[in-house]
């Protein structure tokens, strides 16, 4: 478990290249393995042969509903949400040079939650499909505001953006709490959303957001080569010939699209964007491209597996996936922190 010789930014202590590739392949295998239980296991205890039969085109009306209308769509949604959160987390940690940053640090989640609360309270919106647009709009508006405020002055550095994001996020969280406390009806509906859930997230919810996620992923891929330089600081990056301002805007846009899109689909799912890049960094070393690739595979596996757990923990009901990721995430993070050498950026 422990690799005490690993050093930040030095190749000396990293796992050998072959072992790193093996680990990336392992992560991909983990992802593939997560898909199986996500289709086979759920609150409706259908026998495995019946599920397989349904997948091959047979099955009863009930099993077809359970497999095709419930499990398959939520598995796909879980994959999309996980991938987006993992990549957004890796980007924001490299960008802010803060290993404790998560995609919410720029206030994206707070903005999305506030818009959803306003929609529920004043516009009477009640379905995940309605929340999608509110959450997207909230995330986008908030990032623009944070960037507008945080980039005034000479140094529009990550620190300034982070402080602005945290401050505005805190104000909006307060307003959201105020709204939900005075409107328990809204609170009732927000409860499911704000825990982060994949229930009833069908393709009608996922498809409109998918283009945003894809653009976010493309942007992430585009900035990936510059991230190692950025993670060492703006000055080093400039010395490496990186257009720091451009990369920053691309990273911000990508994080907003990915985290905003993921939040729009499932509500704020905590810990995934924070924890997964950590675990991956520990697995593959401090190479940002590998961390991005690793997060892209490990995070969806974590979300999908957590969702499977949530389906069977409180039978015959379900526990929202966001609650499960928090349960799973906290101990893993503590274990990581307790390692002799914390994996740096």
């Amino acid at each position: 478990m422990t690799t005490p010789t690993r050093e930040v930014g030095s190749d000396a202590g990293r796992p050998p290249a072959r072992s790193r590739s093996v680990r990336l392949v392992g992560a991909a295998a983990l992802l593939a393995a997560a898909l199986l239980p996500s289709v086979l296991v759920g609150a409706n205890l259908l026998p495995v042969p019946s599920v397989l039969d349904t997948l091959l085109g047979g099955g009863t009306a009930e099993s077809r509903f359970v497999v095709w209308d419930q499990r398959v769509p939520r598995t796909v949604a879980g994959l999309a949400v996980g991938a987006a959160l993992g990549v957004a987390g890796a980007l924001i940690q490299a960008f802010t040079r803060n290993p404790l940053a998560d995609p919410g640090i720029l206030g994206v989640n707070a903005g999305a939650a506030f818009f959803v609360a306003v929609g529920i309270t004043f516009l009477g919106i009640t379905t995940p499909f309605g929340y999608v647009w509110l959450a997207c709009a909230g995330a986008l508006v908030l990032t623009v505001v944070v960037y507008g405020i945080g980039s005034t002055g000479r140094d529009a550095g990550p620190a300034r953006l982070t402080v602005t994001g945290v401050a505005i996020g805190a104000v909006l969280s307060g307003l959201t709490t105020g709204l939900t406390l005075t409107h328990p009806d809204a609170f009732d509906r927000m409860r499911g959303w704000s825990a982060g859930s994949l229930l009833e997230r069908g393709f009608d919810v996922l498809l409109p957001v998918l283009p945003l996620l894809l653009v976010g992923l493309v942007l992430a891929a585009a900035v990936a080569p510059s991230l190692d330089s950025i993670a060492l600081g703006a000055d080093v990056a400039r010395a490496h010939g990186v257009d720091v301002r451009r990369v920053r805007i691309a990273v911000l846009a990508s994080v907003t699209l990915l985290a905003g899109g993921a939040t729009a689909i499932a509500g704020p799912i905590v810990f995934v964007g924070l924890m997964v890049p950590h675990v991956v960094r520990w697995m593959v070393g401090a190479n940002q491209r590998r961390i991005l690739l690793g997060s892209l595979t490990v995070a969806p596996a974590l979300v999908v597996l957590s969702d499977v757990l949530g389906r069977i923990l409180v039978l015959p009901s379900e526990m929202p996936v966001g609650v499960v990721t928090a349960f799973v995430g906290a101990p893993v993070l503590i274990a990581l922190v307790r390692r002799p050498k914390v994996s740096g950026l």
């Binding site: 759920g42 009930e62 509903f65 499990r71 009806d185 009833e200 015959p316």
Partner: protein
């Protein structure tokens, strides 16, 4: 404040003994003001009401009542004692419409889980009704504003809570009449529509899971009162949450889905809509009385609704 209580408590066991004496001395000109027979025995104008927090001295004829729980609001209005203040489930929508004209003007004193003490005190109530399971921490502060009576839990059979409210308001007879009328209406609906061999299930969509209401809930007990049987489940207290994957567990001869807006196109959750064949008798009903209309007025409104639905279906 403590003096009359002490004297009252010590006198109470002697009430029956002192009754003839009191009558002889004609201390009270108007007998029969109280329901419990001890009230007129004393000069004081209060009655003792036993409740979840012990015993409180409440005015014989409370005029400025503040209620903190839907069943207390409904029962008070039904008994003709319009409260001066009430908590609401949603400050934007206020007092539920089914309570009628008189109730519309009742001042809001915060939400059911979070009553506002300042607004309660400003109304200068002479009686406050609350609920131990919800407002336990506020009892001492409420009691310092006005005599306060707490019911134990909103999950108790609602008819019992109606009786406690009636005791606090000094009108137990009125409550008996209301509950009798309700039972009578139940029998009428059951007989008119021949419900005795049918099952009925109320579903409240919540957080994308489905909450099924059991026979001890307000809605469930009213359906059973109207002759229906509730399908068997392992109820957790008054209800049971199920995953949409198990939506077929919610099948019954009559299935009712609650909504804040019964005409909303998305009132029926996806899981039920996708299984339309399994729910031939499906109706959307108004949550404001089916879920939160606990009390005799709400009960009558629900029974009228059942009558309307069954008449339309025939």
């Amino acid at each position: 404040m403590s003096l009359p209580r002490t004297s009252h408590t010590s006198l109470r066991p002697l009430a029956w003994v002192s009754l003839p004496v009191a009558a002889t001395l004609a201390l009270t000109g108007c007998g029969g003001g109280g329901q419990d027979g001890t009230g007129e025995a004393e000069a004081s104008e209060t009655r003792a009401v036993a409740h979840a927090r012990g015993e409180s001295e409440v005015p014989v004829d409370p005029r400025r009542v503040v209620v903190l729980e839907p069943v207390q609001l409904d029962t008070s209005v039904a008994l003709g004692v319009i409260p001066v203040g009430t908590t609401v489930l949603n400050e934007a929508t206020g007092v539920p419409g089914y309570l009628g004209e008189e109730a519309v003007g009742i001042e809001s004193v915060g939400t059911v889980p979070e009553p506002n003490l300042e607004r309660i005190a400003a109304l200068e109530p002479d009686l406050i009704l609350g609920t131990e399971t919800r407002h336990s921490a506020l009892y001492d502060q409420l009691a310092s504003i006005a005599p306060t009576v707490f019911m134990a839990s909103q999950a108790d059979p609602w008819a019992e809570n109606v009786q406690l409210v009636a005791r606090a308001l000094g009108d137990e007879e009125g409550a008996t009449t209301l509950l009798d009328d309700y039972e009578e209406r139940c029998a009428e609906v059951a007989e008119t529509h021949g419900t005795e061999d049918s099952t009925a299930q109320l579903i409240r969509p919540r957080d994308e899971v489905l909450t099924l209401y059991g026979p001890t809930s307000f809605a469930g007990s009213t359906l059973e009162c109207a002759g229906f049987t509730t399908p068997e489940h392992d109820w957790e207290d008054i209800s049971l949450d199920i995953s949409p994957e198990r939506v077929l567990d919610a099948q019954a001869d009559l299935v009712l889905v609650t909504a804040t807006d019964v005409d909303a196109p998305d009132a029926v959750p996806d899981a039920i809509r996708d299984n339309g064949d399994a729910f031939p008798e499906l109706h959307v009903v108004d949550r404001s009385f089916w879920i939160t209309g606990v009390g005799p007025l709400g009960g009558m409104t629900v029974l009228d609704d059942i009558d309307r639905i069954l008449s339309a279906a025939e």
